[in-house]
Symmetry: C2
Subunit: 143 residues, 2 copies
């Protein structure tokens, strides 16, 4: 029993610490989900629907509505009607949104840089596949 318990516990703590450290490097009032949404729009593509994004992040769609409304208020994304479906919308990142995301990437690089001395990228690369397998297992278990 304790094996999974221990590992998920450790992972939970790491997620919390990493998130905290990351958010300390974001401008005031911005939090991880704001960055995550913008990053997704660039890494995957923009013009997606809010629902598609909610599924990608595994959060309820009401949570996404809220996150996007914040980003829209701050001019980091733009919501346009979906030409293919009048119920729906498409989310586009703005130039300001791109700038914000790029600045955050720089900040996080500075945050991680000193860690590479203690924890080599090789070592990171070695655990990543196991974590990915773990994630896929949980994802599948979610039926």
């Amino acid at each position: 029993m304790p094996a999974f318990f221990a590992i998920f516990n450790e992972i939970g703590i790491i997620a919390q610490l990493a998130r905290s450290a990351f958010e300390d490097n974001l401008p005031d009032g911005m939090i991880l989900p704001h960055f995550t949404a913008l990053n997704h729009l660039i890494r995957v593509k923009d013009g997606q629907t809010p629902l598609a994004m909610a599924r990608a992040f595994q959060v309820p769609k009401t949570t996404l509505t809220h996150t996007l409304s914040v980003l829209e208020e701050r001019g980091l994304v733009e919501m346009r009607p979906n030409p293919a479906d009048a119920r729906s919308k498409c989310v586009w990142i703005t130039p300001a949104g791109r700038r914000f995301r790029n600045d955050a990437i720089v900040a996080v690089s500075n945050l991680f840089a000193p860690m590479e001395a203690q924890f080599s990228p090789d070592r990171v690369a070695k655990i990543l596949p196991d974590l990915t397998a773990l994630r896929k297992m949980l994802d599948a278990a979610r039926d």
Copy 2:
């Protein structure tokens, strides 16, 4: 750059999925932090101050105040004055709190059991030290 980014991203997703799955197995209205607090009081010891617990969980003390007030309302913990310091309190787990925690442990065991077929405890044990090292590094970086 992408190494740490990728690993913290994966860890964040796993934490979210595991938390979700875990909370689905808790009674209505109870969430992970409620269990975490009770579990800590048993695994470490009860009679601790709220501040000591807040530090252990790396959350603001106001968050702990809220969590403990919920647990107290539900009769799962008891707050008593700290005989050594009149500003302070001590948190004691009640028999109902112990029952709740034990039930949750059983539920989570059932949740993890089917996963052991796909992800052996051996494999889990192999990544755990790396995760612990990662956690300690983040903890230290937090100055």
